[in-house]
């Protein structure tokens, strides 16, 4: 790995581009290796795709999610993919493609609601607990850690069952599920925000503010909040992926959303496993599952790339091998040329033929 090419005129290069730009994020973006950037773009495209599906579901989907027929014609049940039903039909005669599309709607509704609730509950709690400390903080941390250590799916089941045990219909189902997921993830937001607050609280400028007698809420709002809030978007995106999986898990177990109230991918998979797999009918399960995988993948990639980009320590700079130029010939007198900027180029890419060192001849050697 440490080879040198004695006679090469080629130039060393690294892939980082340090040009100043108006958007600091852009410089960081450009600083990432191609792989990381590719992942981020892929993730964003996927997420956007599903958002579009979710928002425009009613227009995009060929049929309703619980539609069993069109006009006089009744849909065949467990039918393989065809021109009328691109993804086939389920055991109840629902169109799989439509259910997948409406499932996107459900997933986004639940997850957005859950993430919003988690932030609204977890962040202030974390701020207060971290800033004021004391017994309240210790108990809160203990509770959060206990909840965090518990299998998230089981906790979600308990909460979802508790809430939806009462009502029925789409919104109570969605609300119940969202709250269940919130219950699972609030401890995470709480912990991260609390730790960031505790760290920020120890900063000298906060100490100074307290010393001059500033109002605690003013300090929190001005200094602490700004620093802490940066951590939230990354967790939110990483959490969204987990939340989608938890939602699917709940649906798979038949908890939360009533199947007639909305289409849900996990529930569809459950139906498929119970009715279709043993007969070898693959379409009713493979497609909804694929949707889950893609969306979770997209969201996770965005979250991780966000994390990598914002956290400079994780940025993997591509290191290309240094190639040493030829040595300056000894004994040559150099004609006084203009003093240039002729230095190893800071741009990416190798420039063959460029002489990196301002070729000044060496004086007499010893």
């Amino acid at each position: 790995m440490t080879t040198a090419l004695p006679e090469a005129e080629a130039l060393a290069a690294t892939d980082l581009n340090v040009k100043h730009s108006r958007f600091p994020g852009m410089a960081a973006m450009r600083a990432t290796s191609g792989f990381q950037r590719g992942m981020l773009v892929f993730g964003l495209v996927v997420v956007l795709f599903f958002v579009v599906l979710a928002v425009f579901a009613s227009w995009i989907a060929p049929y309703g999610f619980d539609q069993t027929g069109e006009g006089a014609k009744i849909f065949p049940t467990q039918a393989a993919p065809s021109a009328q039903h691109w993804f086939g039909t389920t055991v109840d005669g629902f169109d799989v493609l439509s259910r997948v599309i409406f499932g996107a709607q459900t997933a986004l509704e639940v997850v957005v609601l859950a993430v919003a609730l988690s932030i609204v509950v977890g962040v202030p709690f974390g701020l207060l607990s971290g800033y004021f400390g004391g017994w309240f903080d210790r108990i809160a941390v203990l509770i959060a850690d206990s909840l965090f250590a518990f299998p998230s799916l089981l906790l979600a089941i308990v909460v979802a069952v508790a809430i939806s045990g009462g009502g029925s219909g789409k919104w109570s189902g969605i609300f119940a599920t969202a709250v269940a997921i919130t219950a699972v993830y609030v401890p995470q937001y709480f912990r991260v925000v609390r730790n960031a607050t505790v760290a920020a609280r120890e900063e000298p400028y906060v100490e100074a503010a307290r010393a001059i007698g500033a109002n605690p809420s003013a300090i929190m709002a001005r200094y602490v909040f700004g620093n802490v809030v940066q951590t939230v978007p990354v967790i939110a995106t990483l959490n969204a992926g987990d939340a989608i999986l938890t939602l699917a898990g709940l649906g798979f177990l038949g908890v939360g959303i009533e199947p007639t109230a909305a289409a849900e991918w996990g529930h569809d998979l459950s139906t498929a496993v119970q009715n279709d797999v043993s007969n070898g009918f693959w379409w009713s399960g493979v497609y909804p599952g694929l949707a889950i995988v893609l969306l979770v993948l997209g969201v996770t990639l965005v979250g991780e790339s966000l994390n990598d980009v914002l956290n400079p320590l994780l940025r993997t700079a591509k290191i290309t091998k240094v190639v040493l130029p030829g040595r300056r010939k000894k004994g040559l007198m150099h004609a006084p040329a203009a003093r240039q900027e002729a230095q190893p180029a800071a741009t990416s890419g190798i420039e063959p033929g460029a002489d990196p060192s301002a070729a000044s001849g060496r004086g007499a050697d010893r």
Partner: protein
């Protein structure tokens, strides 16, 4: 030297004691949360009774279950029961939860062990490969694999494996823990450990042993691959870190051969966080077990839980979830103990 050993043993003892003391409030918090959350819905007792039930019947059922007593009395009964490892009885079939834990829990334990074996055998070596070929093709492929393993719901992996290997190819059975014949036979064994593999071995019939193993392959792979992905990324990240560490550089400077550096210094140190994370993985494993067991009709405690959820028997659900909380806490405590013993630096 004598003084040093007892002092380090002493601090280990202190650490373990402190850790144990932490477990108790955590468990208490969890079971309390379960208790109160279950009460929110109204009453879990009659929820499984569908249709219009005369109020008198409801009242009688509530009285029988003790749900018309003051809340605190109920809570006290509940907590003291848990302290005695009594988690109540299912409403629909009167099965004591503890009994279910033993019989069905063994199945989950068996599955979890298989899954962990798969996860270790697949995840750890692949993690090493990924670290060794950092940022080159093998590493990229493996990281994609790991992310995919995370993004796929465990029941989807199960569904795909089932479709391909059990239905289309017919290499392995699609569900269940054993064929009916094998199952009835090995359950007659004394002592009945409820762990089918051990029972089959005790029974002594090789075809039954093979039968049990064949049934276990898909569920083990399903649950295992998910965890393998986690281990892969963990080992990779930690190995990359330890390979850059100062003591590794110092070992290289002493002329220790690269293979030994990798194996003894970098890898061993990298594995410590993995053991620690295992504690957290138990919780995830249990959640995954519920889903895997449902997919494959593997009658473990997760399958049982799903069954009671479907039947709206929430007394059973409450009992099982509380029991699992205790188990999770105890198991992660054990893992912390192991981690502390392995790493001489960890003391509270």
């Amino acid at each position: 030297m004598a003084t040093t050993t007892t002092s380090s043993a002493g601090s280990l003892r202190t650490y373990l004691l402190t850790r144990l003391l932490l477990v108790i409030p955590m468990v208490w918090i969890l079971v309390t949360v379960v208790f109160f959350v279950m009460r929110v819905v109204g009453n879990p007792v009659t929820s499984h009774l569908s249709g219009h039930v005369p109020p008198a019947v409801i009242k009688a059922a509530l009285h029988k279950a003790g749900y018309d007593r003051p809340l605190l009395t109920q809570y006290w009964d509940y907590i003291s029961g848990i302290a005695r490892f009594d988690f109540g009885k299912a409403e629909t079939d009167n099965q004591p939860v503890t009994h279910l834990l033993v019989t069905r829990g063994a199945a989950t334990l068996e599955l979890a062990v298989y899954a962990l074996i798969v996860a270790f055998l697949v995840g750890v070596p692949l993690g090493r490969v990924a670290a060794r070929y950092r940022d080159r093709l093998p590493d990229v492929v493996l990281r994609v694999f790991a992310v995919l393993a995370y993004a796929m719901p465990v029941f989807y992996i199960g569904l795909l494996l089932q479709l391909l290997f059990a239905i289309k190819l017919g290499w392995v059975p699609p569900s269940g823990r054993a064929s009916i014949e094998a199952e009835t036979a090995i359950n007659d064994v004394a002592p009945n450990t409820h762990i089918y593999l051990i029972n089959a071995i005790l029974y002594g019939n090789t075809s039954y042993i093979w039968d049990v193993l064949k049934h276990a392959i898909l569920p083990a792979l399903t649950l295992g691959l998910l965890t393998a992905g986690v281990f892969l990324r963990l080992v990779r990240v930690n190995l990359l870190q330890t390979l850059r560490s100062d003591y590794v550089e110092a070992a290289r400077a002493r002329g220790v051969p690269e293979r030994t550096v990798m194996r003894k210094h970098a890898f061993k140190n990298a594995m410590i966080p993995v053991v620690t994370v295992m504690g957290l993985q138990i919780a995830a494993l249990l959640g995954g077990a519920v889903l895997t067991e449902t997919t494959f009709d593997w009658q473990g405690i997760g399958y049982t839980l799903a069954h009671y959820i479907e039947g709206a028997d929430f007394v059973a659900v409450q009992g099982i979830v509380a029991a699992l909380a205790v188990i999770v806490a105890l198991v992660s405590f054990v893992i912390d103990v192991v981690a502390a013993i392995i790493d001489p630096r960890v003391r509270y």
